[in-house]
Symmetry: C2
Amino acid sequence: MRNIRYPNGKLPAGAQGGTQLPDRMKTEEFLALVQEKQASAANRGMSLEEELNESNAYYVAQGIASVHKKPTPIQIVKVEYPARSAAVIREAYFRQPSTTDYNGVYEGRYLDFEAKETRNKTSLPLGNFHAHQIDHMRLVCNQKGIAFAIIRFTQHDETYVLSASHIIRFWEEAAQGGRKSIPYAYIQEHGHLIPEGYRPRIDYLSVIKKHYF
Amino acid sequence: MRNIRYPNGKLPAGAQGGTQLPDRMKTEEFLALVQEKQASAANRGMSLEEELNESNAYYVAQGIASVHKKPTPIQIVKVEYPARSAAVIREAYFRQPSTTDYNGVYEGRYLDFEAKETRNKTSLPLGNFHAHQIDHMRLVCNQKGIAFAIIRFTQHDETYVLSASHIIRFWEEAAQGGRKSIPYAYIQEHGHLIPEGYRPRIDYLSVIKKHYF
């Protein structure tokens, strides 16, 4: 992704008003997200997201499961339609997703999860989740889906499956003044370590099958 | 969505190369899609997509099910990061989705569907589907998910649920030289008419519950 320059350094008029919409991501917020992902992946070569996409592509190609990452939600403002070539989006904004990022079906069960990686050694900050994602996880649990998070501690080089019920409980306790993160030791005890391999790189379905079926 | 004008009427250099990518939608293709949706919805006020989004929002708000439309997949090429305001996407392209548009969970079952509306009175052209969507439906069926299409004939003012198995069979027969559309009469016989109401507008879950559970 590259910057493009405008002669006077200003945004076109049409872009100004929209920046007041509450759920467009601020530049600082967006860059923090991207930088955290890049820094976490720096000593591994691939980010958690890339490894999950590759693992899901393997599951799909082998007919083992159908799980996909949802596209990033974008608010489109301006589109150009040049003849005989691709339509070009000329102004658009990132939106906050209202669900988790991944879902699909595995042997008749609905799977729904969010992937998070952190360089923090001792805990996963709850700031990694949004209120509507917690609401979404609650509904999925009520509908008897399997909701969880895949959490990577890059400093420990470990990736865990943690049931949504734990995340929801920590979230609710934080709202009552409790701690704002989930301790690494708690995830070690209550989560399930995902074995890493070659194909797929992150075989999280083996963990799901063992512990949720 | 509006056009914006460039002084010399040409695309910026960066946009040229990318138009050769196979899965970017051509302007004509994209406009045909948008115009078909608009024309179909013209005498109703709301498009099928809008009514489904409203119905899904109702299901979610009532805790009845968790079903969402996936965001349109976009290939992002250029992003600007103005300080203290929203990140702005300045060049991006529409991609062909590799799955169906809607999925979710309802009482422990995985649901997966595509929504199509047509002004054609006698059949639904198979050109409304893509090969990778058919592959996706096959995998979902194999994984014991409930895969189907919601098909609206705007001229008849009727909306049906049709199981993916029928669509897959017509698709395979078309590949062998068979007809390139699913007849309206066939959908009347093998599909399930969705009762239209006020809340939700399109109560497709009542049909799913009755015929698939």
